[in-house]
């Protein structure tokens, strides 16, 4: 099953409530995916700074920070539950190499405005552990997972991020991900898990790095990705949704002058302001809808 949610704020006055909105959306989708949960928050861009979201298997944050600051100048480490948000000016290529020498840390995502958190457990507990309610930002994407084809681990949890400020959540499953994984890996896209969604995320990263737009990439995906899916994809500029041609995985969109919300079921957005007067529709199969700056 799995639950997917996304919210894009058109009106900045709600930015401080982004985390609160997403918390409600994730909580009501806990029934669709009780195994693990994760979310990506986009906040304002920090010029010439990168934020690395890292999952740590030790609680010795101070020691990790100390070790890292020996290798990296101007480092700021924020610890939330079992995740660290590491802020530095160091470019991804170099920093990711350094991270590889730290077995206790695994990179979840990075970029100038994205922060990603994911964890095994009931979504209601996961959002509490990360204090999602306190987050602010411009848009956010979340996932509640009912595991099917890969293990219940943090690695198997969504969102997947395979490129700078990119992320993807998925309800459904892909059948040609093994072949696609091999061909993407040959092109230099790093895919770490055996999960099908990470391959789709890699496919999108590859399209974007070929200078295609998110919309074009998702349209190409309709031909190349075999299986059933509703995808919500995030970039630093906004978010997009696409459903496969058969469209057996649900999605509903509510749009007001202040925000656009997407969810697997309407009940996930029943708590949003003025939702009953929103324009509510179901995305058509094989069509890409996107919102952004």
């Amino acid at each position: 099953m799995c639950g997917i949610v996304g919210i894009y704020l058109k009106n900045k006055k709600y930015n401080s409530q982004l985390g609160k909105f997403l918390t409600g959306m994730m909580n009501s989708m806990a029934t669709r995916g009780p195994d693990s949960a994760g979310f990506a928050i986009y906040s304002s861009e920090k010029k010439k700074k990168y934020k690395y979201s890292v999952c740590s298997n030790t609680d010795q944050v101070k020691e990790i920070s100390k070790k890292l600051s020996k290798q990296v100048k101007d480092i700021k480490v924020k610890s939330i539950s079992d995740h660290l948000i590491i802020e530095t000016a160091m470019k991804p290529k170099k920093f990711i190499e350094i991270l590889k020498n730290h077995d206790e840390l695994s990179l979840v995502g990075y970029g100038s405005c994205i922060e990603i958190f994911k964890q095994v457990g009931n979504p209601k507990d996961v959002v509490k552990n990360f204090s999602l309610e306190k987050f602010s930002g411009s848009h956010a994407i979340g996932h509640t997972r009912m595991a099917t084809e890969s293990a219940i681990t943090t690695d198997g949890s969504h969102p997947y991020s395979t490129g700078e400020d990119e992320c993807l959540v998925h309800n459904g499953s892909l059948s040609n991900h093994n072949n696609l994984r091999r061909s993407l890996q040959k092109k230099g896209i790093e895919i770490k898990s055996m999960n099908d969604t990470e391959v789709a995320a890699g496919y999108i990263s590859n399209g974007l790095s070929d200078k295609k737009s998110l919309k074009e990439t998702l349209l190409d995906g309709l031909k190349d990705l075999d299986g059933f899916y509703t995808f919500i994809s995030g970039t630093k500029n906004g978010m997009a949704i696409v459903r496969d041609e058969i469209a057996c995985k649900p999605a509903v969109v509510a749009e007001t002058k202040d925000y656009v919300a997407i969810a697997s079921e309407f009940q996930a957005m029943a708590h949003l302001p003025n939702v009953n007067s929103a324009k509510i529709f179901e995305p058509e199969p094989g069509k890409v809808y996107s919102w952004g700056k």
């Binding site: 469209a247 509903v252 079921e265 309407f266 009940q267 029943a270």
Partner: protein
Amino acid sequence: MNLNLKKESLRKVNETLQSIDRKSNKKIFKISNPDGNHAICAGLKDEIEVTIDGHTGYYCAGMNINANIIVNGNVGTGVAENMMSGTVHVKGNASQSAGATAHGGTLIIDGDTSSRCGISMKGIDIIVKGSVGHMSAFMAQSGNLVICGDAGDALGDSIYEANIFIKGKVKSLGADCEEKKMNKKDQNILRSLLKKASINESEIKNFKMYGSARKLYNFNIDNVSEY
């Protein structure tokens, strides 16, 4: 009687509606704050009127017998699925599989429905004032599907003896579905259905009728080499 889903549990509300005291005069109910909950008004069996103020989740009014249910909002997957009798009127849009497998009763949708509207319908009358998505009336066995807007791909795929009346465009027909000539009897069926949904009868002339070509009913010996 007002039932507030913010104050009472869904189970309690449904139980109240499912166990009506038939000697009582309480026949009119209102449900507020449905907030997309699933299975609201499922399994009702008495002649009561229930108005739901807001949007509902999956299987709203499923398995309905006798009750008249009005939704002032949108409904999720499988509204009035397996309905036996009664009326369900949705003032907004419906998601997929509206009226699925339903044996009887009337389902009126003022807006659009997404895919698989009337899938495997077995006697229900469905009137959609907007358009329907792909694979609508898939394996429809009996009953009538009236579409005032357009239909998506593969309309009436593998249809049996149900009738499809449509005013707008058909994107494509499914296997074994073909246009039929409308006779007096068919026109009368359509007229009474339009009347039920308060649509002007003079619209009849703008509708086309589709049904089964009955070519899938028996094995075609010309295809024997395929096996």
